[in-house]
C-alpha cells in the first residue's frame, strides 16, 4: 500500500517490549509491574476481566498515558519519551472515536494528512484501504450515518492506512452483536495475516482471544498471570485464575500424599487422585501450595483406559446443550462438572440420580499455584 522506505525497518525482532511497567490511579494499582514482549508480526491479546489493567497497558503503549515506572520499547526504540503523535503505533478505539465532522474518506485520510502527504498519494492510499476493508461505497458518508459494524471498519481502516509498526485494538468488537462479532473476528484475523502488522488486542472475551491470537497474556489485578499460546493456556494453566478464566474448570483443593516417578498422589475431597507432573510440579506438590484443576470434558463417564483415576459418583443434574451435555456429579464431598460430547453414535442414557463411574486420566489433571 505504501512505499516501505518511509519507515526504516528496525532490526529488533520484538515489536513491543514492556519492562516492569507500573501505573497507579489513586490507591489502585492499575499495573503492578508488567513485563512482556510482543514479537514482530504476531497477533497478541491482552485478556482479562474489566479493571485488570489491560486497557491501561494499551494506552501506555499508545502514548495516551504514562507509566509511573518501567521501560517501554517499540521496535527496539525507547518509546516513553515520545509523545503519542510521534509513536509508530495506531489505535482502534473501543468507542471508535471517529471525527463526526469528517466524512468516512476524510476520517481515513486524517493520519496521512497529518504526515503532510500529497493529496494524490492520500487519495490512492485511502481508496485502497477502503477497498481492503470493503467500505468503498461509504466514502462520502458521515459517521452518524453508519451502523456499528461499519463504524468499526472505518476505525480499522483509519488506523491501518498509516501502516503502523503496531496496531493497538481496544475491545474493537465489544460494542457489536454476537453474529457480527464472529464475522468481524474472522475478517480481523484475515487482515492481520495479509498485512503482517503486529496486532496488540485488548479483550475480556476469552473466546475472541483464543480464536484470534497467536499468543495471549492473561492479566489480573495489574499483573500478567500467564503468557502463552491459546493451547498452552488451556492445556497447562499455571494459576487458578487462568484455569477458571479460560474455559471451564473443576478446581479441587488437595494434600500431597506420595511421589512415585512422574506421578504424585494427592488426597482430595473426591478421593485419592494420581496426577502426572513435571519436576517443577513435584516441587509445587511437595510444598503443598497448590490446587488441582480438571477440565469437564476430560472426565469421561464410560470406557476409561487402564491407569485412569476411577471415582464413584451420583448424577445431580443434566443440562442438554445440543452439541454436548453438561452433568453435575456429586463425588465424595464435592461436586464435579462433566461434559460429554453428543456424537450421535452413542447415548449414555443417564438420568439424574443415577450412580456413575468417572474416569480421569492422570495426564489430564493439572497442578495450579494457589
Amino acid at each position: 500500500m505504501q512505499p516501505p522506505d518511509t519507515k526504516p525497518a528496525s532490526p529488533s525482532a520484538l515489536a513491543v517490549e514492556c519492562q516492569h511497567l507500573t501505573r497507579r490511579f489513586g490507591k489502585v494499582d492499575a499495573l503492578a509491574g508488567v513485563s512482556l514482549n510482543v514479537r514482530r508480526g504476531e497477533f497478541f491479546s491482552l485478556l482479562g476481566p474489566s479493571g485488570c489493567g489491560k486497557t491501561t497497558l494499551l494506552r501506555i503503549i499508545a502514548g495516551l498515558d504514562l507509566p509511573d515506572n518501567g521501560e517501554l520499547r517499540i521496535g527496539g526504540v525507547p518509546a516513553l519519551r515520545l509523545p503519542a503523535w510521534k509513536r509508530p503505533v495506531n489505535t482502534v478505539f473501543q468507542s471508535y472515536a471517529l471525527f463526526p465532522h469528517l466524512s468516512v474518506s476524510e476520517n481515513i485520510a486524517f493520519g496521512l494528512r497529518m504526515k503532510r502527504m500529497s493529496s494524490h498519494d492520500i487519495a490512492r492510499l485511502t481508496t485502497s484501504v477502503m477497498e481492503l476493508t470493503q467500505i468503498l461505497e461509504l466514502a462520502g458518508r458521515h459517521p452518524n450515518e453508519l451502523s456499528g459494524g461499519q463504524k468499526q471498519r472505518v476505525a480499522l481502516a483509519r488506523a491501518i492506512v498509516n501502516e503502523p509498526q503496531v496496531l493497538l485494538l481496544d475491545e474493537p468488537l465489544g460494542a457489536l452483536d454476537l453474529k457480527l462479532r464472529k464475522e468481524l473476528q474472522f475478517e480481523l484475523h484475515q487482515l492481520q495475516q495479509r498485512l503482517g502488522i503486529t496486532f496488540v488486542h485488548v479483550t475480556h472475551d476469552q473466546d475472541e482471544a483464543m480464536a484470534l491470537s497467536d499468543r495471549i497474556a492473561v492479566m489480573n489485578a495489574g499483573r500478567v498471570e500467564q503468557l502463552g499460546t491459546p493451547e498452552e493456556l488451556y492445556e497447562r494453566p499455571k494459576t487458578r485464575f487462568v484455569a477458571q478464566f479460560i474455559g471451564a474448570c473443576n478446581l479441587l483443593e488437595g494434600k500431597f500424599v506420595a511421589h512415585t516417578g512422574g506421578t504424585v498422589e494427592v488426597e482430595t475431597p473426591v478421593g485419592l487422585l494420581r496426577v502426572e507432573v513435571t519436576s517443577a510440579g513435584v516441587e509445587l506438590a511437595e510444598a503443598n501450595k497448590f490446587s488441582l484443576g480438571i477440565r469437564p470434558e476430560r472426565i469421561s463417564l464410560e470406557g476409561g483406559a487402564p491407569g485412569d483415576n476411577r471415582l464413584m459418583g451420583r448424577i445431580e443434574s443434566i443440562a442438554f446443550n445440543g452439541a454436548e451435555s453438561h452433568y453435575r456429579v456429586a463425588v465424595g464431598r464435592a461436586e464435579v462438572r462433566v461434559t460429554e460430547l453428543n456424537t450421535g453414535r452413542r447415548t449414555l442414557g443417564l438420568f439424574a440420580g443415577d450412580a456413575v463411574e468417572l474416569f480421569v486420566p492422570p495426564s489430564n489433571i493439572f497442578l495450579l499455584e494457589s
Binding site: G63, W85, S95, F99, M114, R158, N162, D177, L178
Partner: protein, 317 residues
Amino acid sequence: MADAIPQPLPKRRRIRRTVHFGEPMPPGAQTFRAAWLCGPALAWVTVFLLVPLLFVIALSFAQRGDAGEIVWRFTGENYARLLGHGALGFDPVQPLILARSLGVGLATALLCLLTGLPVAFFIASLSRRWKTVALTLVVIPFWTNLLIRTYAWQVLLAPEGWLAETLASAGLLPPGTALYPGWPAVMLAMVCDYLPFMVLPLYASVEKVDWSLIEAAEDLGASPLRAFWHAVLPQIRPGMVAGGVLVFLPATGQFVIPDLLGGAKVALLGNAVQQQFNVSRDWPFGSAIAVAALLVMCLSLWLHTRVTKGRREVALP
C-alpha cells in the same frame, strides 16, 4: 455479551390526539385553538413591528422636502447616496459609515471570540456547582442598564480614575492622561458588554465536546495544537458561529458606547440613523440607512444558517 441480544419491542401505534379537559379534540379545533393562542402575539408583531417596518421601507424610497417634511415621491436617491453618490461625484462619507460600523461589529465579535473561548473552556472544566456560579457571574452585568455601565466606564477610565492613576504610578502612562475618549475605550466597553452573548453559546458547545477525539487525533499523528485545531474546534464551530452572530448583529448597530466613550466624533450606523431622524430631519435617508443595516444583518444571519446547515445541533442558547 451473549445475554445482550436485543429483544424486539412490541409495536405501539403513535396516537395523534390532544386531550382537552379530558376530551379528545378534533384536528380543526386544534388549529383554531393554536391560532387563538397565537393571536395576541401575532397582532402585536403585526401592528408594532411589521407595519412600522414596511413603513420604514416605503419611507426609504421617499424624498425630503425643504423644511424636512416627507414628500411621497418615489426615488432611489437615498440608496445612491448611501453607496457614495454625492452631488459632486463620489462622496465616501456614507459608505465609510457603513464600513466603519461593520468593522466595529466584526472587531467586537472577533475580540469576544478570542476572550470568550478560554472563558468557555474554563467554565466547562468546573464542577457542576461552580459552573452555575460562573454562568450566573457571566449573566450578572445584564442586570445593570447599558447606559449606566457605559457611564461607569467613563468614571473608571477618566484621568483621575483609579485605573489611569494606577497605570500612571506604574509608569505605563503619563500622569493625567485620559483613557477615553478613543477607540481603545470603545472596544473595551463593547467587548465587556457583548462577551456574555459569546460565552453562553460557546460554553454550550464546549460542554458537549467529545475529548476522546483529541486522543484519536494525537494517535493519528497530530501534534497537540493540530489535534485541538482539527478535533476540538470543528466541534465547537456551531457555538462560535452562533456567538459571532449574536455579538456582531447588536455591535454593528451600537451607538451609545461609541458616542459616550468615543467622544461622539465618529459616525456609525446607529448614530447616523439617529442623526438623520432628529438633527437633520431627513427621515427618508435615515430610513434608507436603517434598511441597509437590516439587509447587512439578514445577510449575516443567512451566512449563519448556511454554515450550520446540515448539523444536527445549532447551539443557540
